[in-house]
């Protein structure tokens, strides 16, 4: 069995298609459109909880690919309606153009990343002015509204996007599944730490899925969370489910 050590994460249909085509770049003339379609469809199938808009884009491209391939099955291409033929080529060129554009920005983003990483090695002085000058400042809140404050709060508490979870990933584990699993397992475990729960996790996405599930259960009031020291061990304790109402509305997290 082949095990993918590093599962590529595709952030869109072009991303995936680019990968499928370019991974075989060296075998340029060996590329089989059929192979690409197979991998493409496989990839779509692996995405269980993709949202509709994303899935549509993927399927649209898959359809174009299949149409390209279907030409091969026709016994004699010379019989083809010329207009249909041109339409297909047009479609193909459009897809090609979009792939090229996508690739351009993808490469540009690598440079942005490098710039960001380099810049992050320098820390600015932020401690501001000496006390005697602070007193001179005019009203600092001039022009600041409640809305500004609200926005600032959201900004300060915004999830840091490194988790990579807001786009299509190939997470095998979903929050809903993990919640179900935990509801079954936790009553037997009694008190357990998050660390113990995730000891078998293979990647950080999995740990995050567990974390989200624990949070979900906490939100539902079926577990209690305790921690003695700041940054100490987080202990999860099963409180029990009200069997009459059960769990309501576990949010569908889409991986």
């Amino acid at each position: 069995m082949t095990y993918e050590v590093e599962t590529p994460v595709f952030s869109g249909p072009f991303d995936l298609l680019l990968h499928l085509i370019l991974q075989d770049e060296v075998d340029l003339y060996e590329i089989s459109l059929g192979g690409i379609i197979d991998s493409y469809i496989q990839e779509i199938q692996r995405m269980e909880d993709v949202n509709l808009a994303v899935a549509t884009e993927f399927l649209l491209i898959a359809a174009t690919l299949i149409e390209l391939k279907s030409r091969r099955l026709l016994p004699d291409t010379s019989d083809l309606d010329l207009e249909e033929e041109l339409a297909l080529w047009e479609e193909r060129d459009l897809l090609l153009a979009r792939l090229l554009e996508c690739k351009t920005f993808k490469d540009a983003s690598h440079v942005l990343k490098t710039l960001t990483l380099d810049a992050a090695l320098s820390y600015p002085r932020l401690s501001g002015m000496e006390d005697q000058f602070i007193g001179l400042l005019p009203d600092l809140l001039e022009g600041v509204s409640g809305e500004d404050l609200h926005e600032a709060f959201l900004r300060a508490t915004a999830p840091k996007p490194e988790l990579d979870l807001f786009h299509v990933t190939s997470v095998k584990l979903t929050v809903a599944e993990t919640v179900e699993y935990l509801i079954e397992e936790l009553p037997q475990m009694g008190r357990v730490t998050l660390r113990e729960l995730t000891s078998a996790a293979v990647d950080r996405v999995e740990v995050v899925v567990y974390f989200l599930s624990v949070l979900e259960l906490y939100k539902q009031g079926v577990i209690d969370l305790t921690q003695i020291a700041t940054f100490g061990t987080l202990t999860i304790e099963w409180l029990g489910v009200d069997t009459e109402t059960g769990l309501l509305g576990i949010d569908a997290y889409e991986g």
Binding site: N51, Y123, P124, R125, L126, S127, G128, M129, E130, D131, F133, I134, L136, L137, P138, D139, L140, L141, E142, V144, G146, E147, D148, L149, H150, A152, F153, L154, R155, A156, T157, P159, K160, P161, E162, L163, L165, F166, T193, L194, R195, S199, R204, V207, F211, L212, L215, K219, L225, T226, Q227, A229, T230, F231, T233, L234, D251, Y253, E254, G255
Partner: protein, 211 residues
């Protein structure tokens, strides 16, 4: 680069980013050199700046070192403060104020945990301006100060009560829950990620962002 030059550079860099005067013991620890050497280097640096007629000095205040402006330059700094962008609340300060406004009473540590950075200097500014005040002591060990907003804050924002602030969505865990969760999320090999999982990032915004 020889060692002495490296130490000089490191000391300058650390003092530059620190919110508070940096104690020589701390620098000695960081560089793994004796404290007397740290002090010699700092004295040498201060002399260099003076000799080169820099606009800043390396001052020894409250038992530590920090950069501050040359007193002769005060007129320029004052003009900058009065006329320049100094009069704007920085986004860092605004975020800190927002956290205090929505989460009060809250300790310095808790604000730090949410912002992921040291908030010492910002809190000092906000205190000095009278936008926030100490409203109590934490019951836990160390009995840290707890901060809250003041009537002046409401006045400046044109609000009659805190409840007039735009409401947050329903589920935002309290700072301590958030902190607990964050801390719990540090399995081995995960440490470096822990900061980005800051607690409140699990709050109401999550549902949207993980779609």
């Amino acid at each position: 680069m020889d060692n002495l030059q490296e130490y000089k550079k490191a000391i300058e860099a650390v003092i530059l980013v620190s919110d508070n005067p940096v104690e020589p013991t701390l620098l000695a620890q960081l560089l793994e050199i004796p404290m007397t050497e740290v002090e010699q280097i700092c004295i040498a640096l201060a002399e260099e700046y003076a000799q080169q007629e820099r606009g800043f000095v390396l001052a020894n205040v409250a038992g530590g070192y920090r950069f501050q402006t040359d007193p002769d330059m005060a007129p320029y700094v004052e003009r900058f403060v009065l006329e320049g962008q100094g009069s704007r609340l920085s986004s860092a300060a605004l975020e800190t104020l927002a956290i205090i406004a929505y989460k009060q009473p809250i300790s310095r540590m808790q604000v730090s945990a949410i912002r992921g950075v040291n908030v010492e200097a910002v809190i000092r500014t906000l205190l000095q301006r009278g936008y926030i005040g100490e409203v109590g002591k934490d019951t836990g060990p160390g009995s840290a100060s707890l901060f809250g907003t003041t009537p002046l804050f409401l006045e400046r924002l044109g609000l009659s009560a805190l409840t007039d602030l735009p409401p947050l969505a329903d589920f935002v865990p309290d700072a301590d829950v958030v902190e607990a969760l964050e801390g719990g999320l540090r399995p081995e090999g995960f440490e470096d990620r822990a900061t980005m999982m800051t607690a409140e990032s699990k709050g109401e915004t999550r549902n949207d962002d993980y779609l």
